[in-house]
Symmetry: C2
Subunit: 429 residues, 2 copies
């Protein structure tokens, strides 16, 4: 395959890109091509100042009074309201709190309670074998605790798996390994037709692709604050529950921040109405404040077309990357794990290679082209080792794509990746 695209073409596209000014909102290191925003998003420029304000003024000077004067109390709800439009949720439907894993435990527990109260014979959770592992671990824990069964399948097996003994279908909207995206509305409708509730993990969707939870009629959802939302390392996550379910069940982590009147200090628990009951304990305010800076960029992006415009650019970036890799790195044994169809693609492109995937990623990182590696199943199954590249349209440009592929071409053409220093495995994220 060949391509007529040049670096100059890419630079021209950047010059004409109406979203290009958004890059100035980020403290992107010079000379770095950062294609790992699906693991840890780049720091918004405003974060340093905002965090300094929280530490020096709100905590340092105003101290305990800031719970009221700086509105620390309702920060989880305020950030939830700011996030809501990105995922097709309404005001008062989302809170930013705790971790993705913990929020999953809350909603999966509530979903199981609901499904099984309505139909006790439903004793299965169905999920994808290549779902992000922590989702599977949380489900495994709940199943173990309650004597239920976790059934793992491949995506094409979903229709057949929606049987009368299934309580909950738990999926990650965009697969963390491949970038493959489910049709949320269609899958939700199929699940509902079979009397099954849906839990959607938006870790690789929120801020990356347009999501319409209410439009899809989804039941429960959770997601991550530190990937495409650029909320900072380990930023608090979020949780959404469809308003038709929100008041129906306690979530199991019935802490005081989810109480109807936390400062009455009553000995008995009365859950707050709506999504507030999905809060549990006191939240890490400094980290939450950094997340706000990440959300502020999306608020600024509204004037430039918002998620629809970001999606259009994201697809243009990933299309370009695929075309350039296939043209300029041909003959090096790279495969494509990410769907070519736009409707099935998130905001990342994953390449496969039978050997050397880890080392190639390390060689690129040494050239300041930062993607990441995800291990496969060692060739035994369908999941190969992955070179994963995330494209965040807020701060990645078309020339970045060109340059990244040029580095990849050089790493492959010169066999640079075979150097010993790139082949020593250690902990990776």
């Amino acid at each position: 395959m060949t391509t007529s695209i040049t670096l100059q073409d890419c630079q021209a596209r950047d010059a004409a890109d109406p979203l290009a000014p958004l890059r100035a909102h980020f403290a992107l290191p010079a000379d770095t091509i950062y294609l790992d925003g699906n693991s840890l998003g780049v720091a918004p420029r405003a974060a340093a100042e905002r965090v300094a304000q929280v530490v020096k003024q709100e905590w340092g000077n105003d101290l305990i009074r800031s719970w009221n004067s700086a509105s620390w109390f309702d920060l989880p709800q305020r950030l939830g309201d700011q996030l809501a439009p990105l995922i097709g949720a309404g005001p008062g439907e989302v809170v930013c709190t705790d971790s993705t894993s913990i929020n999953l435990y809350k909603v999966l527990s509530a979903a199981l309670n609901m499904a099984r109260e309505d139909s006790p014979a439903r004793r299965r959770i169905v999920s994808e074998r290549s779902n992000f592992p922590t989702d599977l671990y949380i489900a495994e824990g709940l199943c173990r605790e309650r004597g239920l069964e976790l059934v793992l399948i491949e995506p094409e097996e979903i229709p057949a798996a929606l049987t009368a003994d299934v309580a909950v279908l738990m999926l990650t909207h965009v697969n963390y390994r491949t970038g493959a995206m489910h049709d949320m509305a269609a899958v939700t409708a199929a699940a509902h037709a079979a009397g099954i509730l849906t839990v959607w993990d938006l870790a690789h969707s929120a801020g990356a692709v347009p999501v319409d939870l209410n439009g899809a009629g989804a039941d429960f959802s959770i997601g991550c604050g530190y990937k495409y939302l650029n909320g900072g390392p380990g930023a608090p996550a979020f949780v959404w529950v469809h308003p038709r379910h929100a008041d129906r069940f306690w979530q199991p982590l019935s802490g005081w921040w989810g109480h109807a009147a936390p400062f009455q200090f009553t000995p008995d628990y009365q859950p707050a109405p709506g999504i507030t009951r999905y809060l549990c304990g006191t939240q890490p305010i400094i980290s939450l404040s950094a997340l706000q800076c990440g959300l502020d960029v999306f608020t600024a992006a509204q004037a430039l077309g918002g998620m629809q415009a970001l999606r259009q650019k994201s697809l243009a970036l990933t299309d370009l990357f695929i075309e350039l890799v296939e043209a300029r790195c041909a003959g090096h044994g790279l495969g494509l794990a990410t769907p070519r169809e736009h409707a099935q693609r998130g905001s990342q492109v994953c390449l496969t290679r039978d050997i050397g995937a880890y080392a190639i990623v390390q060689a690129l990182i040494a050239r300041n082209v930062i993607g990441d590696f995800r291990k496969g199943d060692g060739g035994a199954g369908r999941h190969k080792d992955i070179l994963r590249f995330g494209f965040t349209p807020l701060y990645v440009g078309f020339a970045d794509v060109w340059n990244a592929v040029e580095h990849l071409r050089q790493v492959l053409d010169t066999a640079e990746w075979q150097r010993p220093e790139f082949n020593q495995q250690h902990a990776v994220t």
Copy 2:
């Protein structure tokens, strides 16, 4: 009652106080007497710079590489090891993570599993009626989920409540309302003699009084990072499990950070050995880093005698406060809710008054003497409205105590507290 103590005496005690240099570690606002460190500790001076470093350098510049290069990965364990000596725990026995409420859910669930596997007839959790409410809410949630019973008693009823149907005795070591402290070793021994496991909440103990979890043979413990540990608003909490129990059970929040090999991305959950399995999801690194600054002050305090020296000063401060209030605010209807006996007192003093407690606290806050108010049961029971004053020996001095009591005297003598602006109730922490 009279006193011969003068402001000059207090100033002399500050001048002679070997712990006085520790105050310089804190960014205490000028002209503020801060007696609310039991609600939100003061910011360590190092926090602003440390947090800026995390945001600008580790997140901003090094990005995803900081999981390894800045050791973000093992921050929960490293902070746990740093905290361990304050609570009589060994290395590798503590992690700093999540919120107090969530950590309580983990250990209470594990304790119930263990107690009931050994003896299924044990179906009660016993706790104090005036335990901090979120502890009761979490226990209530677990009881509801599992068909168990939460029994609430007064502290003097504990011995009679340790019956053969009790699985877990769940207590807060120092009561948040009164500052009354349990004898952890004696209560634990009595519980164990009755075949009952203990869960200790150290929210008002860690960094406030010497704690010896291993010495007491306690089973499970959790505590708060943002009170006496000065970790910042909503700082991550901590969890300890006695090594004899740590490997025995999964905790219910079986997320990837508690997995034996989180980056193998295996679909099945294998808990890490020891306390690491009490981790769940990705942690808020910026907030965790601020907590480290709080712990660093305790490390610095080691050279000055550590927790034993801090305890000695704390008791001297609270003794002084009690003596001065009783001498200089006599005739104003103030009562003492905190035990006079040192062995039964935490690091706070709580006063009672039949009317006006809220307004008196507000009047003091207007004078920059910051304590807080805790509502009682409206005169119906034994729990009166409380004026609560925390004494953190790291940054509170003897002259602060004198001046605080002098402000209290003036507020009472002049009936300043009766002004309308001090009698409008709103949300308080």
